[in-house]
Symmetry: C2
Subunit: 403 residues, 2 copies
C-alpha cells in the first residue's frame, strides 16, 4: 500500500489546518494538523497552510485541435462559424497535425494548472475519419494514471451535411467514446430532425450520453432544445444529455425561458457555459442554478485556430464566469468555483470526486484564504495531486508522474 500524508492544508468546510492521509490513491483520513497518527512509512508533503481545492474539471475541451506548444498563431479565421470550421480543417491539414501529440501537450498544461478531469470533444468527420479520435485515445491511455479523460465524438463539420458522419459516430462509440456529440442541427445541418434522430438512434443502440454544441441563437436554439427534450422523453434519456454553450438561453423573453427551463428540469438536461468572449450572449447561470439545472464549464478550444482567448486555466475560467456574470457576492464566486469542480465532476461522471474520506485524492493547493479569493486571484498552483500522485508542482507538470 502506498501512503502519503499531506500536512497542514486547509479544506473547505473544515475548521483549521488539516492533515490528509492518502492510501492507494484515496483520501483515507482527514484530521486536525499535527493530530494525525500517520503510518511511519507514509511519504510526507508539507502544505504550508495552503487551501486545498478538489481537482479542477474541464467539462468542455477540444484537446485534439490545439496548437499549444507551437509558435504563436495569429488569428486568421473569418467571422462565421463555417469560416472557422473550414479554416481549421485547412490549417491542420497543412500542418500535418497530430492530435495525439497536441492533446498530450495541452493536457499536461492543464495538469500544471490543477485540472484533473476532462470531457473533450474530438473531431470526427468524413475527411479525417477517426484519426483524431484514435490519437486522443492513445494519449488518454498514456496518461491514464494522471488524468481522467472522457471523450465526446464531435461532428465538427456537421452530421447531415457531411454524409457518412453518422456511421463514423457509431464507429467512434464502438471504439471507446462514451459520449455522442452534435452541432447546431438547424444552423449547420439545416436538418434538425435528421441530425437529432440519427444521434438519438445511436445513443439508444449503445447507451451513450449526448453532449450537443448549440450555438444557434434565440428562438432557433430554443426550438432545438424542445426537439432534444422530446427525444429525451421518447427514449428515457433522463439526465444523459448536456447542451454546450446554449447561447440561446441568454436571449429569450422571460416566459419563453421559463418554459425551456421546465424542459431542462423535466429531463435533467445539463448546461455547459464557458462565458464566451465578446458580446455573445450566454445562459443566465445563477437563475439556472437556483432552479436546479445542472451546470458545468470548460476551457473550450485553447490556442487553436478558433480563438486565442482561452488559456486553459480552469480557475481563471471560474473567474471569467463571475466577471462576465457580474457576480460580486461570495455566493456567485462559490457558484463559479462549483461549476469548475463538483458540478463539472457530476456531469463528466467522476463517482469518487471530492475532498472527503473515500474520495480519490485529486486536489490542487493554492495560496488563498477561501474559495472566492481563489477564484478572484486564480493564484499559481503549488501542488496538484491525481489519485495521490504528485502530477504538478509550482505550476509545472511532473513528467516522471506520467511515465
Amino acid at each position: 500500500m502506498t501512503r502519503l500524508l499531506l500536512q497542514r492544508v486547509r479544506v473547505p468546510g473544515q475548521a483549521g489546518a488539516c492533515d490528509l492521509l492518502v492510501e492507494d490513491g484515496r483520501i483515507a483520513r482527514i484530521e486536525s494538523a499535527g493530530a494525525s497518527s500517520a503510518p511511519v512509512d507514509a511519504v510526507r508533503l508539507e502544505g504550508d497552510g495552503a487551501l486545498a481545492l478538489p481537482g479542477l474539471v474541464d467539462a468542455h475541451a477540444h484537446l485534439d485541435k490545439t496548437l499549444w506548444g507551437q509558435p504563436w498563431h495569429p488569428h486568421a479565421a473569418g467571422p462565421t462559424l463555417m469560416d472557422k470550421i473550414t479554416h481549421e480543417r485547412e490549417e491542420l491539414a497543412r500542418r500535418g497535425h497530430s492530435s495525439e501529440r497536441a492533446s498530450a501537450r495541452i493536457l499536461r498544461h492543464g495538469l500544471a494548472r490543477g485540472t484533473t478531469h476532462w470531457r473533450t470533444h474530438v473531431d470526427v468527420g468524413p475527411d479525417i475519419g477517426l484519426a483524431h479520435l484514435h490519437g486522443v485515445l492513445a494519449m488518454r491511455e498514456a496518461h491514464r494514471d494522471v488524468a481522467d479523460v472522457q471523450i465526446v465524438a464531435f461532428p465538427q463539420t456537421g452530421v447531415m451535411r457531411a454524409p457518412g458522419t453518422l456511421a463514423l459516430l457509431e464507429q467512434a462509440v464502438r471504439d471507446g467514446t462514451e459520449v455522442l456529440g452534435g452541432l447546431d442541427p438547424m444552423g449547420i445541418d439545416h436538418d434538425p430532425r435528421g441530425q437529432l434522430d440519427g444521434l438519438f438512434g445511436i445513443a439508444e443502440r449503445h447507451g451513450s450520453e449526448l453532449d450537443i454544441h448549440l450555438h444557434d441563437r434565440g428562438d432557433l436554439g430554443a426550438v432545438t432544445v424542445e426537439m432534444i427534450a422530446e427525444r429525451c422523453a421518447a427514449l428515457g434519456l433522463h439526465g444523459r444529455v448536456v447542451l454546450s454553450h446554449a447561447f440561446c438561453l441568454g436571449m429569450l423573453e422571460a416566459a419563453r425561458l421559463e418554459a425551456i427551463v421546465e424542459l431542462l428540469l423535466r429531463h435533467d438536461i445539463a448546461v455547459m457555459s464557458h462565458a464566451p468572449s465578446g458580446p455573445t450572449p450566454f445562459p443566465p447561470l445563477k437563475l439556472l442554478h437556483e432552479r436546479g439545472v445542472r451546470l458545468c464549464t470548460g476551457s473550450d478550444g485553447v490556442r487553436d485556430t478558433w480563438s486565442p482567448l482561452n488559456n486553459g486555466d480552469m480557475l481563471e475560467r471560474a473567474y471569467l464566469l463571475a466577471y462576465r456574470s457580474g457576480w460580486r457576492e461570495d455566493a456567485g464566486l462559490e457558484l463559479a468555483l462549483h461549476m469548475a469542480t463538483h458540478a463539472g465532476a457530476q456531469v463528466v461522471g467522476a463517482p469518487r470526486y471530492g475532498l472527503q474520506v473515500g474520495c480519490d485524492a485529486d486536489l490542487v493547493l493554492v495560496d488563498a484564504e477561501c474559495g472566492p479569493e481563489a477564484v478572484v486571484m486564480h493564484p499559481p498552483r503549488r501542488l496538484v495531486l491525481k489519485r495521490g500522485r504528485v502530477v504538478a508542482r509550482d505550476g509545472r507538470c511532473v513528467l516522471s508522474a506520467i511515465g
Copy 2:
C-alpha cells in the same frame, strides 16, 4: 554613475535577443545580445530570452480605499451607486482605515505585477476632508524611487450634493494634486451645470487636468459629454480631460455616437475603460482607437467594498479588455496591450516612457513569444525594473528597493 546590463531580452520591434544597458536609470544602449561592449562596472542581469514590455500603466486606480492585505471581505454593498458610496464610507470608518498603509500595500502588489505608473483617484469630501489625500501623498513620497503616481482629487460623495467639496478640491490642488476629478454631474449631483462650472473654474485657476467619472448611461451620459466639451472649448482645455468609464459610449445609436466622437476628437478628450464586469455596457474601444481617440485603462478599485472582481494585474486587465471586446486578431490584442502601456503613459504624462534609448528603464520581463501571447497568458512577471532599479522579482516586490 550606476550601470546595469540586462542581458538577452527580446524587445518588441527588435530582431533577435538584445542587451539593454541602463545608465542612471535610463536606457543608454540597445544592442544585439552578446555584441555589447558594456562597461566592466555594470551590474549584469540575465534575461534568459524573456520578452521585455514597457512598465504597465494603471491609469485608473483607487489606491486609497483598498482592503488589500486584510482578511477576505465578502461583498456586502447594495446594487446602486449610492448604496456602494454609503456602504464604503461606513465600512472604512468602522475599520479606522489608513489610506497611507492601504495604498502602500496595493502599490507594492502592483509593482510585483509589473505596474510602474499609476493615476489614482483619491477620495476627498466633507466627511473625510483631505485625510485620504494626505495619506496617499505620504505613500507617494515614500515610494518615489520605485513608482510614478499621479493623483486625482476625487469627489466620491458628489460635488454639489456635498457642500464644501469644491473648496476641498481646490485645497487638494494646492496640496499637490495634479488632476481634478468629477462624478456623474447629473446622476449623482442632479446639477451638471453647478458641478462642471465648479470643476472647470478650479482647473482654470490652477491649470489642472480633469478626469471625470461618468457612469451615467445612454443619452444622460452623452449630454454630459457635450457639456464637458463646451467647457473645454471655452477654457481652451484641449487634451487636458479624461472621461473615466463613459459607459454611455457603448449605448448610443450610430449617428449620436458619431457626433460624440467628433467632440472627443475636437477637444482631444481621452477615454478610460477597464472593461467592466457583468452586463454593463462600455465604449467601443476599437472604433474609438481607429478614429484617433486617446484611450487608457486601469485596475479601478482592487479588493475594496465595491467589488472583489479586480485583482490589480494590468496585464490581465489587458486580457479582459480583449476578452470583453471579443478581440481575437493580433491587432486587437496589441491594442489591449497598448492601452495598458504606451497609451496609458501618454494620458498620465510620462515623458520618458518606452523601450527606446533615452527612455526611463521601466520594464517588465515575461515568458512570452510576443505581445499578444503576453496578453492572453498574462504570465508571471519575472523581473520588474523602475528607472533601472529591480523593484520586483518572480512576482514578489523587492522591499529593499523601497528603502
